[in-house]
Every structure is written in C-alpha cells, then in structure tokens.
C-alpha cells in the first residue's frame, strides 16, 4: 500500500512538473496581457484537475503493469533460444518473424490507447462535422504505426541505414501530398506527431534497444534509434492513402 502511495505521489509530481509551465503561462497571460477572467472558470479548473489526476493514474498504471510486461516480452521474443526453437537458421532475418509480428501488433494496440491521438480524433471529428470518424482515424493511424514498427524491427535486424528508409518515406509523402484530397493533408501531417507519446515510446524504445543488443553485429547506440522516427512517418502515409482510396471509391460510385 505504501508503495502505491509513493508511486502515486512520484508520478503526480512528474505530471505537475509537466503542467506547471503551461499553468504559469496561461495564468500569466490572463492576468497581465488579456486582463480578463477565463470563461467558465470553475468548469475549466475542474477539467484541468481531472486531466492531471487522470494522467497521473494512467502513467502509474503503465509503469506498474504494462511497461515491465512489454519489456519482458521483447526480451523473451528476441532470446536466441526462443529463436532457435522456431526457426532452423538463426542467422537469417526470417528467424525473427515473431518479433516483427509482435512489433506490429503492440504498435497497433498502444496507438489505440494513446491519449493524445484520442484528443486529436475528437477534435477532427468535431471540426469535420462528423465526416471524419473518431475510430476510423485512430485505426488508420494505428495501422501506420504497426507497419512502421514491423519495418523498423526488420531494419534493425538487417542493419540497413536508417536515413535511406526515411528519405524514401519522405518522397512517398511528397508524392501523396500532390494527389491527396487537400482537406486531409493538415490532419495527416499532424497524426504523425501524436502517435508517439506516453504509451508507445517507452515500449518501442525498449524493443529497439533490446533487439539491437541481441542481434549479432548490431550496436544499440546506433541501431537502437529510429523506431520512433518510423512511427511518426508511417501514419502520415496511411492517413493520406486512406483518404485517397476513399476518394477513388466515391468517384466510382458516381
């Protein structure tokens, strides 16, 4: 019990540190620059307290339960003994197929639970008058992260240079931007940045560092990075692609 309370206050402190500059900035601006009270002040304060307490519990729960399990599983799946048991030739990149699948599935799952993506989906749904569905956007983004992590772990196993993948990814995004419906572009670009915050980053970082520590010839310092970069790039591609496919289907109907 004592442990839980300690954990709660520790993660409450961390959240407060995160929030304090924002509170100082907003209060300072209201008092010195705008010189007007915030409308619905009581409700806003209550809402902010809910956000802070909610985020504290959320982080505490992640640290106690999900991160240790996620790390443990990443370790077990990249364990040489496990790999030998499932594939005859542990030297081949194919031997790591369970890792690719795990990376894809855990990427999808953690993205669905990502609070900042939920926030952007709520806003996009509101602004588009309901044409952009909350779950639709979240699933398309999550598929992007799944592809990103599968490819990212493949890159770590094969040791191919990161920047080549990123450059190709950028070129694909640029070409898609030319042809995609203009309305979706801003949202698509934004969905790249929101996928990687509270839930996804720690599990993904553990996976990358763990994997590059196990695969012969990889250096965690150089090869361990890059998964997060992939996870911020691919959702842009999938969101743009989804919008393009929907547009094509609509045209065919007409």
């Amino acid at each position: 019990m004592e442990n839980i309370l300690q954990g709660f206050f520790y993660s409450f402190g961390a959240t407060m540190k995160d929030v304090a500059p924002i509170i100082i900035l907003i209060v300072g601006f209201q008092i010195f620059v705008l010189k007007k009270p915030i409308p619905n002040l009581k409700k806003v304060i209550l809402g902010s307290i809910l956000v802070i307490v909610g985020l504290t519990l959320f982080l505490l729960g992640l640290e106690r339960a999900l991160f240790p399990v996620g790390n443990l599983m990443a370790e077990q799946l990249s364990n040489p003994e496990f790999i030998k048991k499932h594939y005859h030739n542990p030297e081949s990149w194919l031997a790591y197929y369970w890792i690719y699948l795990f990376a894809a599935m855990i990427g999808f799952a953690t993205t669905i639970a990502e609070p900042s993506l939920i926030a952007v989906a709520i806003k996009a749904n509101e602004v588009s008058g309901g044409t952009i569905k909350k779950w639709g956007l979240r699933i398309v983004v999550a598929v992007g992260v799944a592809l990103a992590l599968a490819l990212g772990t493949f890159r770590i196993v094969t040791g191919t240079p990161l920047y080549l993948y990123i450059l190709v990814g950028y070129i694909i995004v640029i070409i898609q931007t030319i042809f995609a419906p203009k309305k979706i572009i801003a949202l698509a670009y934004d969905s790249g940045g929101v996928t990687t915050s509270t839930v996804t980053v720690p599990i993904v970082a553990a996976l990358g560092l763990g994997l590059s520590g196990v695969v012969p010839g990889r250096n965690p310092a150089i090869d361990g990075f890059g998964l997060i970069a992939f996870a911020s790039l691919f959702p842009i591609i999938t969101v743009l692609a989804y919008a393009q496919i929907m547009e094509l289907l609509n045209k065919k109907k007409k």
Partner: protein
C-alpha cells in the same frame, strides 16, 4: 427521489465512459495475452500486479478524456479567441513561442533522450567524457529542441493567420531535413529523427490543437479543418532540423 435519479444518472454515465476507456485498452491486453499464453507459452508474471495496473490505466484514461473536453479544449480555444480579439500580433506570437518552448524544455522524455545522447557521444569520443561536458551537451540539446518547438508553434500560428498552404512549408522542411542529413555527423542522425517524435507530450497536443482550430475558426476566410491542424506537424519537424544543426555546430562537419 431527485437525489437517487441523479446518482443513477451518474452511475450510468460513468459506466459508459469506463466501457469506452476499456475498449481503448482492450487491444493491448489482447496482444499481451496472446503472446504470453500462445507464443511464449508462459504464465503471466505477477498477474495481480498487471490487473491492478490496468485498472489504474483504465481509470486514468477515463478521467483524462473527461477533463480534456471540460478543461484543456476550452482553455486552448478561449485563449485563441481572446488573443485574436485583442488583435496584437506580438502577444499572439509571443504566447505561441512560449507555449512551445516551456512545455518542451521540461518534458521528461526529452530530458531522458538528451542524457542518453550525451552518454553515447562521450563514449564515441565526440565530446569530452567529464560530467560537465556531458551535462552541458545535454542541456544544449534540450535548449535547441525547446527553441525549435517554440519556433515551430510560432511559425504555425503565423501560417494560420496568413493562410499559407501547409504542404509547401512541410515539403520545404522535408527537403531541408534531407539536405542536412547528407552533411550531418552520423552519430546525431538517428537521434535527431527520433527527437521529432518525443517532443509532443500528452498535455501539449490537445492544447495546441485547440489553439490552432480555435484560431482558424475565428479568423475570417480560414477553414478549421484545412488550416487549424498542422501545428503538431511543425512541432515534430523542426526539432529534427535544429538538433542536426546543433550536432554540426558541436561535432563539426
């Protein structure tokens, strides 16, 4: 009677919200159970600990989303309206920069990554291995990233005001990233790419999104969907550019 019907309403409301938070979390539970039981064929380590942690995550997510719509979105929007109404470009841009800078400089994920980067750079003998050399490198990296996020939000807000098309700026940014990648030291590239992703925290995203959408809906001729989004995209692009530049300045070409 009125009291009981209020309580019933509250219970129905909360259980609906709890259900939707449960759906958000369900995929993670399924993936972990599948791999643990079917592929690794091992029992759950510390089953009750996981159950308890998941309950906390569930409650936290529910409260966060409730507070989002009650607190964070309205604050972001009312700041956008008030600043647009005041009509002072200076204060609007100052607010945008300060929002980006102040939320990033203290971001725990960034602090962790900067320290890790300093450790790695010291090991590859790019910087001195003394504690002070490492901490000044880490601090420099944090400041350049925080500065770049502040600058990104400022430029993004200016874009909404002026109605510049987003894709020109983003594509231009990509081209700059590609060009700098060619000359930047290898040690900083992977790190710089990842930094783009870690700068946008869970509290910054809703605030910044509400600010952008709020501005785009008050300013005449702007469309909230076309112009309101895009601030986060800037905030993930600029740190890559600035941290690679920082690497070039520190390590040389």
């Amino acid at each position: 009677m009125a009291f009981f019907s209020r309580i019933t309403k509250l219970i129905v409301y909360s259980s609906k919200k709890l259900m939707s938070a449960f759906l958000d979390l369900l995929p993670i539970l399924l993936v972990i159970s599948f791999f643990q039981l079917v592929i690794l064929q091992q029992p759950f380590p510390q089953f009750y600990e996981i159950l308890f942690g998941s309950t906390l995550v569930l409650l936290g997510l529910m409260l966060f989303i409730e507070g989002l719509e009650m607190g964070l979105f309205p604050i972001g929007e009312s700041m956008a309206y008030a600043l647009a109404k005041k009509g002072s470009l200076f204060w609007l841009l100052f607010f945008s920069f300060a929002l980006g800078f102040s939320t990033t400089i203290a971001e725990p994920a960034l602090i962790a990554v900067a320290q890790e980067a300093a450790r790695i750079s010291a090991e590859s003998e790019l910087i001195g291995s003394s504690e002070s050399a490492k901490s000044s490198y880490a601090l420099g990296l944090r400041i350049s990233v925080a500065f770049s996020v502040g600058f990104a939000i400022l430029l993004g807000v200016l874009r909404i005001l002026k109605g510049w098309p987003l894709y020109y700026l983003i594509i231009g940014g990509y081209v700059i990233v590609m060009l700098i990648t060619i000359v930047a030291p290898n040690e900083i590239i992977g790190l710089a790419y990842d930094l783009g992703g870690v700068t946008t925290s869970t509290i910054t995203v809703p605030l910044v999104t509400a600010l952008g959408v709020g501005l785009a809906s008050v300013i005449k001729g702007r469309n909230p969907l076309l112009d309101g989004f895009g601030l986060i995209a800037f905030a993930s692009l600029f740190p890559m550019i600035f941290s690679m530049l920082y690497g070039i300045v520190i390590f040389g070409l």
